[in-house]
Symmetry: C2
Subunit: 461 residues, 2 copies
């Protein structure tokens, strides 16, 4: 029966006739059907298997764009396209470290994005220990110069991921501070919460004029081992080999797909996640699941009929290394009216809370969201929505927002490590995400209220 799948696909992809606003019962029906969703799993499994790691600006990310365009077209979206931009590209090299004295042994580590390189022979230096970033900041340059600065700390898991902001500063700012004091290199305790010997990478920044020194994260077992070795009170020497490279300007791009709305003046609902990933895992929770959840929900709305507002799904490029895709998108689409934006970039564990940022004239939408999301165990929060690196530049222009906040308790066990792989995705929780996004889109895209501007300061985290 070779015709059947083709016929089924045609039926699914053919836009149904325009409808009036969905009733709460229709929203509930769409939401509950999404609890059996297979589209998000199919995208997550396909992207992580057929592409795997996809570091921003590399050929791997380019292959991911090609894959994404084919997948989004096959799902029946309209206006599927790539919007390219240029960006500087950093690639990982060799990375090895070992304690030379007093207790010789290897250490497991990962270079931070934008890390400088050692020579091909590596460097050897004494380690100087700082329990916190503040201790490094307070240290006189003479204590640090020529040494390997080692900055530890104690990030703990939090359901809302709130520990990432403050603890992440060690990674974001620590290397530049150490460089300014003349450090030969810097090692940090991974910004992570698991005790596996897979270090957590992530981007760091050396401002103009600050020399990029070798900068790497130790896994938690390695960081604690180095602390124990230091506690013995003898001078500790470490040999470090890191050979990452800046390979110049390359092309990256955002992949865009749409569900056309019936009222072009009502503004676009912008949703998505990021297509790029770090290079050591396959980017399953960060962020194959995010692009999958948002596209699956949009597809389910499309299959139910033409919504009032156009839903634009963007699979952003180059988020991890500096949000280049989100910046390029905001610049390219600054002249367009966006009604609302929402982003999924915190894994695929269950959504437990939602927040909104809506103009007063559209406040009733939040009440309807509460009704639609409560059966999924999602409570209404009291924060101002606006999460997400990729939508931040668009939100900064005054666009309304919804956050569907996932349970992040185990997110930082895997985030930015080789362990971010498909097996970390819980299929039932992934489906709950799709149901939440489907319900949210059903309410928001069809809302009869105008959704005007929400003044806000520049956001992002």
């Amino acid at each position: 029966m070779p015709l059947k799948p083709a016929l089924l696909l045609a039926a699914l992809t053919l836009p149904l006739p325009a409808m009036a606003q969905m009733s709460p019962a229709q929203v509930a029906k769409l939401r509950d059907a999404a609890l059996k969703d297979e589209i998000a799993w199919d995208i997550t499994e396909g992207l992580t298997t057929e592409i795997g790691p996809r570091l921003a600006g590399t050929d791997d990310e380019a292959r991911a764009r090609t894959w994404a365009v084919a997948k989004l077209k096959a799902l029946g979206f309209s206006n599927v396209r790539v919007e390219p931009y240029q960006m500087p590209v950093w690639v990982r090299g060799e990375e090895k470290a070992s304690i030379i004295a007093p207790f010789p042994q290897q250490l497991q580590l990962a270079a931070l994005g934008n890390s400088g390189a050692t020579s091909a022979e590596g460097l050897e230096a004494e380690v100087v220990y700082f329990p916190t970033l503040a201790d490094l900041e307070a240290a006189p340059a003479a204590r640090v110069a020529g040494k390997i600065a080692f900055v530890s700390h104690a990030m703990h898991a939090a359901q809302d991921g709130s520990s990432y902001g403050p603890f992440g500063q060690v990674r974001r700012a620590g290397p530049a501070i150490a460089s300014r004091k003349g450090a030969a290199a810097i090692l940090i305790r991974s910004i992570g919460t698991d005790y596996h010997r897979n270090a957590h990478t992530g981007v760091t920044t050396f401002p103009e004029g600050v020399a990029p020194i070798p900068a790497a994260a130790l896994s938690l077992p390695d960081a604690e081992q180095l602390e124990r070795v230091l506690e013995r009170g003898k001078p500790v020497r470490v040999k470090l080999l890191l050979t990452p490279r800046q390979i110049g300007t390359r092309e990256s791009g955002n992949v865009i797909a749409e569900v056309p709305g019936r009222d072009p003046k009502a503004g676009v609902v912008l949703i998505g996640g990021h297509l790029d990933s770090w290079d050591q895992g396959t980017g399953a929770i960060d962020d194959a699941s995010g692009v999958a959840i948002t596209a699956a929900a949009a597809k389910r709305i499309m299959a139910a009929g033409r919504p009032r507002r156009t839903i634009r799904v963007v699979w952003f490029g180059a988020e991890e290394v500096g949000g280049f895709g989100g910046t390029a998108y905001a610049k390219a689409h600054a002249g367009e009216r966006h009604a609302l934006a929402a982003e999924s970039d915190f894994g695929a564990d269950r959504v437990w809370k939602f927040d909104t940022a809506l103009p007063a004239s559209a406040a009733a939408i939040a009440d309807r969201l509460q009704t639609a999301l409560a059966p999924l165990g999602i409570t209404r929060g009291n924060a101002v929505a606006g999460d997400g690196t990729d939508i931040a530049p668009t939100l900064a222009l005054g666009v309304a927002a919804v956050d569907l906040t996932q349970d992040g308790t185990r997110y930082f066990d895997y985030h930015h490590t080789p362990d971010d792989t498909l097996d970390k995705i819980d299929r039932a929780q992934l489906q709950q995400n799709v149901a939440a996004w489907t319900a949210m889109l059903a309410v928001v895209a069809d809302a009869p209220e105008e959704i005007g501007a929400v003044p806000r300061p520049a956001a992002g985290h």
Copy 2:
């Protein structure tokens, strides 16, 4: 007060006067005091920090012997010595693998002990998939020749570790079977139960006349990724670089320490674990904790007075790569009377069961053990005791045995991986182990019964 610690040490290490058999109340008191033991933690922390990995036959294992002799002397044991022997030594080299086609991406793997090497440029070949070892065995050589055989399976966690025997055959025998069929190399799914990208190594054997081909284990996420890629039905090519080496015959050794007994004719109680470890972790659960638990218990008995039987603590060398230490010990001490042997080599989670192998004339010892161990939550099993690679050659001579069986539910999450590090030791469970061993030794070493031979077939697992 510089004299105080020295005086205290002298008091602790001076053998107390000979005593009669301990009463059940005295045994209980010793057992309960051991629940606050710090000796086992001190040994585990020290060995894993100050030595780290200690692959059999290497300089690292030699440093561990020096460390062990110093530690056991400092604890006040008698006759502390190294008994050396010679053994063939294999060392790890570089190890890299990637899928070349159809979906280029890296794979994480670890060479198996005794693996052959690829050339310095690596080898590239098509992958041929076998769900089980039986499928590989059944395959005609023409399907395998020149290819990379990939053998998967599905080991699951079991409290008693019983899945390791049957599933471990893939690692032990699979490489030789693949070599006989002309395979270019073999990849196996790790013999492990965790989903982290740290592959599980372990020894394999190529019998005389069978060429050692490159043989490595993939982590579970990588093995399942490779299965998904194969499921797409296109030819899968993998590039493999493995450069381990056989470096010839080197010296290894057993470290031995004693608590002298008051009745030399009553036979020796032999206890211990193994000092060597695999090279990627620090060998905390395998088996720093085993040498620590047994030595701590013996030290606590020593501090309570001279037992009837000599307790001999052996920290065996070279267990992981073929039980060379256990074999050398049995050969060197075949002429001595051993009353009983017991080994700790299954991590440091709580002891939940004990078994015995005793002659009928000493059966009452098992009843007294039941009384002494029950308050620790340890039940009496109905198996014949005799676990342990290192004591197996001694047990085979007809020596009685006690097994104190640890909870192995999470053991194969870490076993033979870089993740076998100090943080995996639960201090309260480690103390429960010391209490169990202390109670066992108090009962066994002082038992008034003669403990004669127990006929048994050659044991070991």
